[in-house]
């Protein structure tokens, strides 16, 4: 009886320390969301400006640039998956990987061979375990990505894209990441980032009509220099969104873990109390039984 009581107490202690850890992780994740959101906001002026400039250039020139020209028979498509380095983030990684799976199916159905690039240790281990070959892997910055990280990834992708498709080059680049909608909702999304999708609309673009630029040195020269920056900026934005989503997912997962631990502690405390009461009752009845036996004997 006393042994059972000890067992319950031991479990309560262990769950209590787990609860402390999950609670701390929850708080850290919550503060990381705020930071990540601030960084998304800080990166917006650059991203907006570069998007605006690029739409101005693309809409008024007739330059056939490899980065904007759609390949008639695309054979290979690079797919970049953005996941986290660490787990304990609920369904965050599983959702991105599922979305990636759908995209890979689609690409194969279109007769394109997918080439996988992975950001985050979770995607790397996922695909390595399944024996999928990864063309590139980038880890160690999923929670706090810097622009240099985005640049490193973008450089690898653009280099592969510029290569001829007879060799090992890819004709398209897709990006799968998690969009941060709000603290409760994060959506895994897949976008094609290259070749650029130029939309022809009659609606005026946001921020007023696009200026009729003069170019220095030339439209081609500007486009050459601009497009890699655009890809980097898109990638950076996606990394930041994913980081915010990761923290939000982790905060939610850790919150429910903390709540569960609280429930467990409550249950075990009840059982421990019952066990203690049992032990006391038993002791009393033993004493009473013993006293009765003595009284009868005398």
């Amino acid at each position: 009886m006393a042994g059972q009581l000890r067992e319950y107490r031991r479990r309560i202690r262990s769950v209590q320390s787990t609860k402390k850890i999950t609670r701390a992780m929850e708080l850290i994740a919550a503060s990381r969301i705020v930071k990540a959101k601030a960084r998304v906001a800080a990166s917006r002026p650059y991203a907006d400006e570069i998007t605006r400039v690029i739409s101005a250039v693309a809409s008024q020139t007739t330059v056939r640039h490899p980065l904007t020209t759609e390949h008639p028979e695309a054979r290979r498509a690079a797919v970049l998956v953005i996941t986290s380095d660490r787990g304990l983030a609920g369904g965050y990684n599983a959702n991105v990987l599922r979305r990636t799976g759908e995209l890979l199916e689609l690409l194969r159905a279109e007769g394109k061979e997918p080439v996988l690039y992975a950001v985050g240790r979770k995607a790397v281990t996922y695909y390595r375990f399944r024996g999928r070959e990864l063309a590139g892997e980038f880890t160690g910055f999923s929670e706090q990505p810097g622009y240099d990280n985005a640049k490193e990834v973008a450089d690898a992708l653009i280099a592969r894209f510029v290569e001829s498709s007879e060799a090992a080059g890819v004709d398209e680049i897709h990006l799968v990441f998690t969009e941060y909608v709000n603290t409760l909702t994060q959506r895994p999304v897949a976008h094609r980032i290259l070749p650029l999708v130029l939309e022809k609309t009659t609606e005026p673009p946001p921020g007023g009509p696009l200026p009729q630029y003069e170019f220095e040195p030339s439209a081609e020269g500007v486009l050459d220099a601009l497009l890699p920056r655009y890809v980097e900026s898109r990638l950076y934005a996606s990394l930041l969104e994913s980081a915010a989503s990761e923290s939000a997912a982790r905060q939610r997962a850790m919150k429910s873990a903390t709540d569960n631990a609280g429930e467990l502690i409550k249950t075990y405390t009840r059982r421990a109390n019952a066990a203690r009461q049992d032990a006391i009752t038993q002791e009393i009845s033993e004493i009473v039984g013993g006293a009765n036996a003595l009284a009868q004997a005398s």
Partner: protein, 89 residues
């Protein structure tokens, strides 16, 4: 009539404000932008600097590559890395 100038790097907006003249070095050479300049998009040289004249003061910004975009709304300088130096008179 001052021009609105914004210097933005991917991680944050480095500086923004009104200025009288912007001097930058593009791949074609040094260019000075005064108010009412024709819209222009230029590629900046690696490791160059941008000088912003406000009255008698000159603000110097070290930029590493990037773009100069002049529109009728103002001048924006997009650089991967941009560092503000202390203003000199």
């Amino acid at each position: 009539m001052p021009i609105r100038v914004a210097i933005v790097s991917p991680e944050r907006e480095v500086w923004s404000g009104d200025a009288d003249m912007v001097i930058a070095r593009t791949t074609e050479g040094e260019i000075g932008v005064l108010p009412r300049h024709v819209p222009l998009l230029g590629v900046l040289v690696q490791g160059g600097e941008v000088r912003i004249k406000i009255g008698n003061e000159t603000l110097t910004v070290a930029v590493d590559g990037g773009f100069l975009s002049v529109t009728d709304q103002g001048v924006s300088i997009l650089a991967e890395h941009a560092t503000l130096s202390t203003p000199t008179t």
